[in-house]
Amino acid sequence: MIARLYNSITLGMLASVLMFQVTWLEMRVNIGWLFFGTVAVLFTLQTAIKPLRKICSTFTASALSLVVSCAGVYSVLGFGSMKIIPASIIREGIMQTRVPFSTINTAIIITAVVGLAVVFFSRKNEH
């Protein structure tokens, strides 16, 4: 379950950054809420579809999702905006827009690293 949740968060962030690029959408919708909605949808899909469930419950899938998400976000935003846009999406989603970007970025990095470690060490319990 942890691996599927991890994949949902990483790929959900990539999807949110892509949605953020659509100015019409970004000006009208809280992209942070779309992020959490996307995470829920991705998690449900990975859990409900049996073949997908098996593939997505591995450490390899989680590591790959992190690489794809980081590479995708970097190619869309570049390094400068990468430090701002994902954090702005999160803080808008939790409706805490006064939290500094650096604090949110620290939380994102901790989630990415610790999350992947948890997936690695819990992989035996998944099967």
């Binding site: 000006m27 808008e92 805490q96």
Partner: protein
């Protein structure tokens, strides 16, 4: 786990309460100026928006280069108190114009806007704090007008103080770009990161009535 969740909720409540402070506008009739307390939203130093200043509790509060910390209704009243005349000539139907040739420019009393913050080198014109990327042609100086739109503001609560095009929602909007210009991607705007201070910095936006 429950304790951790409770702790997280408590933390969010504490952070939220910091935002509960409501400041007020400073209106100086002699100088014909209004000082609006606001904060920089760093998101729009790197991505496009049509909103220069919006009330943080309004619908566009988080879609703006700066978040005003006072209601836009107070701002409307302050402009009226200074003797500014609203144009009230832009309707939601005008916003559907496909390009600027089909669009309409705002009318109303002319105003100018400046920004100051701790450490700023005096008053910085709003024009210098905004980057306009024009598809064909050159950037146009801001031509801010008291558009009005009080009824829309009261009904829909968009929070808009200053829009960067002519708009049916903002109290003051920009006559330099008619409605339809943004629909046709003739221009896009974002905050100037080389001029504005970092995300979260408390600023004062000074709006002056041009007599």
């Amino acid at each position: 786990m429950k304790k951790l969740l409770l702790l997280l909720v408590a933390l969010l409540v504490v952070i939220s309460s910091a935002y509960a402070e409501e400041l007020s506008l400073t209106v100086n009739k002699e100088k014909g100026e209004i000082i609006i307390p606001a904060e920089v939203n760093g998101k729009y130093l790197v991505s496009p928006t049509k909103h220069a200043l919006s009330y943080y509790k309004g619908g566009n509060g988080e879609k703006s280069i700066m978040r005003a910390l006072v209601s836009e209704i107070d701002y409307y009243n302050a402009l009226a108190e200074l003797g500014a005349i609203p144009g009230n000539n832009i309707t939601p139907a005008d916003m559907k114009a496909r390009n600027s040739a089909e669009g309409k420019s705002t009318e109303g009393s002319k105003v100018t806007a400046f920004i100051t913050w701790e450490g700023s080198n005096g008053e910085i014109p709003l024009d210098a704090a905004i980057v306009s990327e024009v598809r064909d042609g050159e950037a146009r100086p801001l031509d801010l007008r008291f558009t009005g739109n009080l009824e829309f503001a009261q009904r829909s609560h968009p929070g808009c103080y200053i829009c960067l095009d002519s708009c049916a929602a903002g109290i003051t909007t920009n006559a330099a770009w008619p409605t339809g210009a943004l629909n046709n991607k003739e221009v896009s705007f974002h905050g100037n990161a080389d001029v504005l201070p970092p995300d979260g910095t408390r600023v004062n936006v000074i709006v002056r009535l041009v007599k």
